[in-house]
């Protein structure tokens, strides 16, 4: 088989900083993905699922009232219209299909916002595989509707009590489970993070967002967008959106969670305010103290509440190909409400970060922008409503 190998590094970033026990499984996964991504049978099966089950292609929607409000044309890439309500399903369906083909019978996943957990539980129900989802108990509290969904779909949700009881600890717990059950289990990681080949594989599975958006832009406007904007947690919707535009004269903007402000130390901005380090098996940009202890992230949105980021983003930052900015909890909450009222779309709090940045950064210049609306905000209603009530006083 002469399929091109899956990238292990992005500049100096990436790699496999994991226990030896996992190396053979990562080798197998790498080989399986290298083969599957250039295998037409696999790709046809995946495309059919993305079309008939996920509902792709998702629309590139001209957001008229939002455009009017900021004085620039904006298109929203409607990942919120995917089955299960976020881009996470693109990756979950792809990896689960691959795992099944590899003969794995049990799927492990982690989840923060619950979107990836729901997506993986959904894919497992579809394909008849056992599914266990690790979720921090703080996130279980914040994202209760998604916990109910996972249970209904037949997945087992394992609460994680370590640390701040959020996404970082859920990923660690999932990796530990995989270390112990690597023979029959596949770990469906939820973002473009982790040891190689995960960052490249997740990007390959999410690039459908940018591939569609690029041709939809050309169709709608006869031109490429001036700017492409996406929120960055672990970095999967953003890398998936950016990837198709890497070689184009298009500005790429990733929006991280500034939480209570970068200077407060309570944020999730690993690229804007982190340092080079290793978390969950990859060298990237992380939030850590001067002893190298990983710090807890903070964000109002569970999906951005993570002290690391995919290694490819660290590389795109260093090369200057993409720009990374951040917005606070408050800005995101206000954007959440504003878009609901302007467009009749309730965005996920994660996606609201990208919108919040756009609301304040819309220079008068030619061209139009594409923003990845990574998910819908139903899951956030309780949390956002309460927080907005506090803001309103």
């Amino acid at each position: 088989m002469s399929a091109p190998a899956v990238e292990e590094r992005f500049g100096r970033y990436g790699g496999r900083f994991v226990p030896e026990t996992l190396i053979s499984a990562l080798d197998d996964l790498s080989a399986a993905w290298a083969a599957a991504r250039s295998d037409t049978v696999f790709q046809d099966e995946l495309s059919a699922l993305l079309r008939d089950f996920v509902g792709r292609p998702t629309p590139l929607y001209p957001a008229e009232r939002l455009s009017e409000r900021i004085g620039r044309r904006v298109y929203l890439k409607r990942e919120d219209l995917c089955h299960t309500g976020a881009h996470k399903i693109n990756n979950a369906v792809g990896q689960t299909l691959l795992a099944k083909q590899m003969g794995k019978t049990r799927i492990i996943a982690e989840t923060g916002a619950g979107q990836h957990g729901v997506a993986t539980a959904t894919a497992c129900a579809l394909m008849g595989l056992d599914c266990v989802v690790y979720m921090g108990s703080e996130d279980i509290r914040r994202q209760a509707p998604n916990v109910a969904r996972m249970n209904l779909l037949g997945a087992k949700v394992e609460p994680v009590e370590a640390g701040a009881r959020t996404l970082k600890e859920a990923v660690s717990a999932a990796i530990r489970d995989w270390v112990a059950n690597v023979a029959d289990s596949h770990y469906v990681i939820g973002s473009a993070v982790g040891p190689a080949p995960y960052p490249a594989m997740v990007r390959d599975l999410q690039r459908v967002i940018g591939d569609e958006a690029r041709s939809q832009s050309l169709e709608a406007e006869g031109a490429l967008p001036k700017r492409v904007i996406a929120c960055v947690g672990g970095g999967s919707n953003s890398i998936g959106t950016f990837y198709a535009f890497l070689d184009d004269p298009v500005e790429l903007v990733g929006v991280e969670a500034a939480g209570e402000g970068l200077e407060s130390g309570r944020h999730g901005a690993s690229l804007s305010a982190g340092s080079t380090g290793i978390l969950h098996g990859a060298l990237s940009s992380v939030l850590a103290d001067d002893q190298g202890q990983i710090l807890e992230a903070h964000s109002v949105s569970a999906g951005l509440d993570y002290p690391g980021v995919g290694p490819e983003h660290a590389h795109l930052r260093d090369t200057g190909r993409a720009t990374y900015v951040s917005v606070t909890d408050t800005q995101a909450l206000l954007a959440f409400r504003e878009v609901a009222r302007l467009e009749g779309i309730i965005p996920a709090l994660e996606s609201s970060h990208a919108i919040a940045w756009l609301l304040e950064n819309a220079p008068e210049s030619a061209g139009f922008d594409v923003l990845c609306l990574s998910g819908r905000g139903d899951k956030d209603l309780d949390e956002a409503t309460a927080k907005l009530a506090e803001l309103d006083g």
């Binding site: 496999r16 226990p19 660690s172 190298g292 202890q293």
Partner: protein, 282 residues
């Protein structure tokens, strides 16, 4: 390099010094007709003073070498007991330096091998980290998230400071890879007994014997088995197939469960005495 500090170590850092000290400890045990006993402890757990005391008890109770955990926030290779100990140590303010106090306490008597995760090494700076280990008298380092193929700079810095980088092999390691790891091993080869993270196990896998035999054949250094070993009977059976036995979670749990430092010292001392007994004539 850190400025010259009073060294309590038996030997100043020089290339291969750590590996030599490790080799001597295994050879001495073998000379006694038994496998080496290498208990693990968490540094600065529950605090720096307790760490020193536990290290002292380990050395006095017949440890041949000591594996010293450096508390890290995200220990991917560790199960609940060691993870919780690291978290507790960090909450109590543990640092690399305070964890290494245990090393300083006993490094002139027996070799201490630090178990530390890559990110701490990278954040501190490879050379600075290695120099601090060496200055505290450590003989080597076990880096559970630095498999073959990663971290050349880390391995170089350790070598410059005379520290052996002990590699791990697992039941899932392919035979070719295992041969490569064993051939390049320094100090000893750490054979992970089971497919999993650290933690006590009721049973060890039957394939272990063959795996240990292959590793001993393929490496020029001793092979020690760790992960899951928690009873004298298991210690005796591992001693029959390997050059060293590593006991971790069982001892960390003894410290955790003890109400105070005195009872912790008694508990680990009693366990180590039983462990030494199980090793006699192995």
């Amino acid at each position: 390099m850190a400025e010259a500090a009073p060294t309590t170590a038996s030997s100043a850092p020089s290339p291969a010094a750590g590996a030599d000290r490790i080799a001597a400890a295994f050879a001495a045990a073998r000379h006694d007709g038994r496998a080496a006993l290498m208990p693990y402890m968490m540094g600065a757990f529950p605090d720096a003073g307790s760490g020193r005391r536990i290290a002292r008890v380990y050395s006095d109770a017949g440890a041949d070498l000591v594996e010293l955990g450096i508390p890290f926030s995200d220990p991917l290779a560790d199960g609940p007991v060691i993870h919780a100990a690291a978290t507790a140590a960090l909450q109590a303010g543990a640092t690399l330096e305070s964890a290494l106090e245990a090393c300083r306490e006993i490094a002139s008597e027996i070799p201490v091998v630090a178990m530390c995760y890559s990110n701490m090494i990278l954040s501190t700076g490879e050379d600075e980290f290695a120099s601090r280990l060496a200055e505290a008298g450590a003989a080597g380092a076990i880096i559970p998230d630095l498999p073959l193929g990663e971290g050349a700079e880390i391995k170089e810095a350790m070598a410059v400071h005379g520290l052996a980088v002990v590699p791990l092999i697992a039941p899932t390691t392919s035979p070719e890879r295992r041969r490569e790891i064993c051939a390049g091993a320094e100090g000893f080869v750490y054979l992970v007994s089971t497919t999993g993270v650290t933690g006590e196990r009721a049973e060890l896998p039957p394939e272990l014997e063959d795996l240990a035999a292959s590793a001993r054949e393929e490496s020029g250094v001793p092979v020690a088995v760790g992960f899951g070993i928690s009873t004298p009977a298991q210690i005796a059976s591992i001693a029959a197939i390997a050059d060293g036995v590593i006991v971790g979670s069982r001892l960390v749990r003894a410290v955790q469960d003890a109400g105070d430092l005195e009872s912790a010292a008694v508990a680990v001392s009693e366990f180590l005495a039983a462990a030494r007994e199980a090793l006699e004539g192995s």
